[in-house]
């Protein structure tokens, strides 16, 4: 046995990040002589009302051995096939960024090239006619994907929309059952090694000291350990993503159970709508230099579909990334590591990714600097790539109806994004990298949805005739439509698998 192995892990902060970390570590380190302690205070609320996710969450749950129907019942969860973006490219526009691909390639030519040529030749079907998850979402239908690659039901994936508080509670029960010790209390101080600055322990209001070797900072925006104790520093990205506040309120559900999240662009930000089984989570993310808190709250309350069931809650944030997400013996996960607005439902995924990377680069008490260095390099890449993807939504717009949209439409964007946009606009090439959670299909969905149409295509698509292209695409479109119409409604499907919340 390695004599310098980590034996005591302290997770600072509960909430989604804390309990996901606790549950995952408890599962993976099972059987090892390791203690996991999570310190949280019930006084400190957690951020997140309705939470929308991306499909990777299913692998996280599956690895923990979580039963889907049970989890959905207990977190009031719904299925999610994508996100509808309203009013982003232009006022009145609507597109869905689905968890799935558009169409099929023909003779090695990517579908988006075919579609762009089809549109140029006078084809009238929108690109979403070639996406089963979009068609299903528009009809509030859902069924599990099929693993048979020949089936159209294999062309999509799915995620969940759930109550974040209930998910944290669910994972807490899971983690506690596997030996995670929960300590209730507000942390008043972090004691650090005089020379190295390593955190030795945290001190609670009660005077209790919780000591450990590895500290996972899940304390949220303020970064109790990573920032307040270690001063890891914060890289501010608000010049690219200028929204800095959000107001959130749940309301009664008045509509059919939609299997998708909605993000509606407003005058100085955007509003989310996350439909859960029993209610709808709503929020308005906005830029405080363009709209007052009152106006932002009114805008939100003015557009929710049902009666609010709680007081609106205000949140403040600065978009950006911790300069070192892992510093010395502290690894920041969740909002402590950085903040990216939930436009693409990436918060939980970034937590999940951080947990996986931490396990990949699991340290011991020698604290080999390469672990933190490689971890930080990889996480930095992830955050930057999500950041670029979010900026795309704001920047690729034709809106100039408010000062906010004029600002984001004309601002300078990171070089990496400028190159991606230009390459797609000119030639329909999706620039992509090994690291980064959003794959080609996601970039294509947003480009096309926000009217970034390639000026020229893949010359290989010239091998097809216009007529052949139209006919093949018509056949494809009909297949998708037929299949979508056969799917059950989400409500029926939830009932069928026994996932109805009580």
């Amino acid at each position: 046995m390695n004599g310098s192995a980590i034996e005591r892990i302290v997770i600072v902060g509960g909430g989604t990040a804390g309990w996901m970390t606790a549950a995952a570590l408890a599962h993976r380190l099972q059987g090892l002589p390791v203690s996991i302690t999570l310190v949280e205070s019930e006084e400190i609320g957690t951020v997140g009302v309705g939470e929308a996710t991306v499909p990777h969450i299913r692998f996280f749950n599956a690895r923990l051995g979580i039963d889907e129907a049970d989890f959905m019942r207990r977190t009031s969860a719904t299925f999610k096939l994508g996100i509808e973006f309203r009013n982003w490219g232009r006022k009145g526009d609507s597109y869905i960024h689905p968890f799935g691909v558009f169409g099929e390639e023909i003779e090695g030519v990517a579908f988006h090239h075919l579609w762009a040529r089809f549109a140029r030749a006078g084809g009238r079907d929108a690109v979403e006619a070639f996406s089963l998850p979009v068609l299903a979402a528009r009809m509030d239908r859902f069924a599990h994907p099929d693993s048979d690659p020949e089936s159209l039901l294999s062309t999509y994936s799915y995620a969940y929309q759930f109550d974040a508080g209930l998910y944290a509670a669910y994972l807490r029960a899971y983690a506690e059952a596997r030996g995670v010790r929960r300590v209730e209390g507000r942390i008043t101080a972090a004691l650090q090694h005089a020379e190295t600055g390593f955190v030795d322990s945290v001190v609670l209001e009660s005077g209790e000291r919780v000591a450990g070797e590895l500290f996972v900072d899940c304390s949220g925006f303020r970064g109790l350990l990573i920032e307040q104790a270690l001063h890891a520093g914060y890289e501010d990205w608000s010049h690219w993503l200028p929204c800095d506040r959000a107001v959130a309120v749940p309301c009664r559900s008045e509509a059919a159970l939609s299997p998708y999240t909605r993000a509606t662009a407003l005058d100085a930000g955007w509003a989310w709508r996350i439909p859960l089984q029993h209610r709808v989570g709503n929020g308005h993310v906005y830029c405080s230099s363009h709209i007052s808190d009152e106006a932002a709250r009114d805008a939100l309350l003015g557009q929710i579909e049902g009666e609010p069931i709680a007081e609106p809650r205000l949140l403040r944030f600065t978009t950006g990334r911790r300069r070192k997400q892992w510093d010395r013996n502290v690894v920041a996960i969740g909002l402590a590591a950085g903040f990216l607005e939930p436009l693409e439902s990436t918060s939980i995924h970034l937590i999940q990714l951080a947990i996986g990377r931490l396990l990949d680069h699991w340290p011991d008490r020698d604290w080999d600097p390469f672990c933190a260095r490689e971890y930080n390099r990889l996480m930095d890449l992830e955050y930057e790539r999500v950041r670029d993807f979010l900026i795309l939504h704001y920047h690729a717009t034709e809106r100039d109806d408010t000062p906010f949209w004029r600002q984001v439409r004309t601002m300078a964007v990171p070089e990496s994004l400028a190159h991606r946009l230009e390459t797609f606009r000119k030639r329909g090439v999706v620039v992509n990298y090994r690291d980064g959670m959003f794959l080609d299909a996601s970039w294509i969905a947003v480009y096309l949805g926000q009217r970034v149409i390639p000026e020229a295509g893949d010359p290989r698509s010239e091998a097809l005739s216009d007529a052949g292209l139209m006919l093949r695409l018509a056949a494809m479109r009909d297949d998708y439509a037929r299949m979508a119409a056969q799917l059950p409604t989400q409500a029926a499907f939830l009932a069928r698998i026994g996932a109805n919340a009580s």
Binding site: D364, F370, K426, G457
Partner: protein, 478 residues
Amino acid sequence: MPADAPLATITIAGGGFAGWLAASLLARALPDLAISLVEVPGPDRSLGVAAAADVLLPDDLPLLGEAGWNGPDLLRGGRAGFVLGTALSGWRADGATAFMPYGEIGAPLGPIPFHQLVSTMRRRGQPVNMANYALGALAAQAGRFAPPPPGDETVHAALTFGLSIDTARLAEMLRGDALERGVRLAGTWHGEAVQRGDGGVQRLVLADGTSLAADLVIDASGPASPLSGARDDWSPWFPFDRVASARRTSEAPAPPYVHCDAHHAGWQSFAPLADGVGELFVFSSADAPGAPAAEPFAPGCQQAAWTGNVVRIGGAAAQHDPVAGLQLHLALADVLRLIALFPAACEHPAEAAEYNRQWREKTECAFDTALLRLACSGALGAVWDRLRARALPDRAAYRRDLYAANGRVVLHDGEVLEEAGWTALFDALCVQPRKGDALSDALPSAKITAHFAAIRQAMIAAVGRMPPYQALMAQVAA
């Protein structure tokens, strides 16, 4: 020419392997292009150094298949031999030989990667030879081989192979294919060109005095290209500056791996062909006075592969030290990238920028691969000592240091080796992680040993079911 005029004409400069490869694949992918090719006199250095044999990596084969060239064509046209990996001799300080197989090594135990298990066992004092758990290495050792049948789901399916081809012979076949598809052989070119202001070329002036204009010029004329732009010199890191190559024929095919032997002034490799071997002899002229006649070469790369309307491919874009056997792989990657990004119009800055970005990534990864292959070696000789004494560039150093720290492999966008390949390279050269994986270290030795034994048993059984390599090659020849 108006900027948005459709790109219709291409001239390929250089009728070596890279030029004919580009001609054949472009003519197949884009049959309405008017493609001309001009030949450049002299030996074929279009891939970098003139080698009698070059290697197609395992991942190259399906890509070439999609582009229209499948295995049987390559075997026949290239007098090819199968390659399961590289056998190293003289590369380790301890004098031991090593084998770097293609494909996965071993199998993970739950979430724990195989090489972490190896690392745990070694730190517990148990020597483990990774090659004993690689199907390719075992097959090479046993002299048995058969490509896995399509749809196979047994252990055999994991057998990963490349092809070693007779470069000149395959070039001949590509040439025939290109000409049949309407590529026009336009004459001989001695290097005279009328340049444009933007790094592009207006027209090439041929040996007979005629001019050849094209919307796009593909420079496949090798490292000494007259169309060369600003170039980065890599010689500070790569001390080997001479190369000689020879083709030997034999009755029987050479065994299915590349053998690479390090010696005091350089290294020598033997690539298997259906009817012999392709030898490559690379050394430092300063360290080998009185060495046989050899050609000089100087590793380095263009600062941009695509400038104006000129795309440099293969050796014209970058000259790598051939130690990692990548020059054919890189030229193929260049051609496939060009097809994937093929511009629609005569002015095409967006396509060129993305091409250059991808090419740069790949070039840097190949640079790291070759450099670490040399710099991590324990070979004996003054030139090797000098090589090791020199500080590595940051990126290459970080790859080695991270692996040495915790066995993790850094992967960038343009890798030529994936995790298994890097692990095999480091392990063969005795770079071993200081620290193990906590989860692996928590496993009892007996559990790991049993896992190892099960893997080995299954692999040996699978190899036993393969035919002798000689028999397979006889069948291929028939």
